[in-house]
Amino acid sequence: MKTDNEQILKGLLDTLVLNVLTQGENYGFGIREALHQQLGADADVVKEATLYPLLHRLERRELLISYRQPGERGTPRKYYKITDLGRSYLRTKTAEWRKVASLLERTIFINKD
């Protein structure tokens, strides 16, 4: 059974992945490492088995493009790069999350304080 926190983070995951890629193109493991750094204690939610299908889905939606570069380990390495469409999607999603955060600030958080 997933906790509410996990569910919320999973909903955020596409935004987080796109955000990581605004800092530059990256490959699967690199993206995972960047997410782990940003999420700290909540990093366990980002399972590899979730991350890769998400990357493939974002690519199908043309929010990312991918390319393979000859790798050091005998097989090519696949890199992901955010597209203009991806950047504009990220801006929209960020604005939505900001609205949610602001709503929480004005309601629940303020009452608790």
Partner: protein, 318 residues
Amino acid sequence: MRIFSVTRLFSPQFPPELATDIPVIDAYLQQIEQELPGRKALRCQMLEEVRDHLLEHHSQLVASGDSSDRAAEQVTTQFGDPTQYGRALRRDKFIKFAKIFSIGTLAFIVLTLLIGWANPPAANYEGITPDFWTRHLVPMLNAPVFAFLMSYTMTFVAVKAKPDVRADLCVYMDRKKKYAGTYVILYMSTLGVIGFLGLFNIGMLRSFHPLVAIAFVIASLLTVYWSRITWNSYDLKDDTLRVKTVFRETQIPIAQILSIKVKRYWNDRLNILDSRSLVIQWRNNTGNVQRIQLPLNDSMHNADRLQAKLYAALEHPQ
């Protein structure tokens, strides 16, 4: 027997090039591989990313002091259930197959009906002229067969061309694809000639409606025209993109590129062979804005790398 195993029939073994010499990781990769459809080269391509991830993570853990076996156990556990992951990859392929199959079947049925409508019925040996449905039901039943062959090839046989490190950032098709391109050109040119002769009541299409003959000529000409990209090559060197086509050679200084847009065609939307055209606008040395269309597809070596490199050049102008 699981039905997707049929697609692995001619090469059911685990691709040896994916072996890592780390038994736990190899066993894990084999578990995922068992869930994948398609020919060996395709399965290999689907697994490359996981393999790279596991090895990278493994090296990181070993470097931080873990033993190789312990690190391998940890990375595979962390990656998640291999069967589930393999199934997720397989599902993507089946969605693609179903999409191409259903659209292909519909397209072939429509084509059969159009040709049937344009072809005047002839009386059989008993002097009876069969009605429209009697004449066209059987040909229409061929539609799923053609669509199946097409979707099967596109989903379970076709693979992306490997990045070619020797060619750096040169985008090209290899010799086999050029042979295939030559075959398509010869075949479609013949169809075009048949269509053209049909317009003058000569040859195989003589009894068909002139619209069918015209459609044959147009479809053939368009296919021949698009097949020319087999001989295109694009070379990014010294901050200049050299575009060589059958008709001309163009040099585009990267720093002078103004915009790059992706143009997709209706057949690209089917995801048949991830193809697209990059429409590049640049300002030439005399100050004029020029425009060129660069057709790219996954049969071309380094196509995806060139696209990413051009985007990066536009984002971070020198």
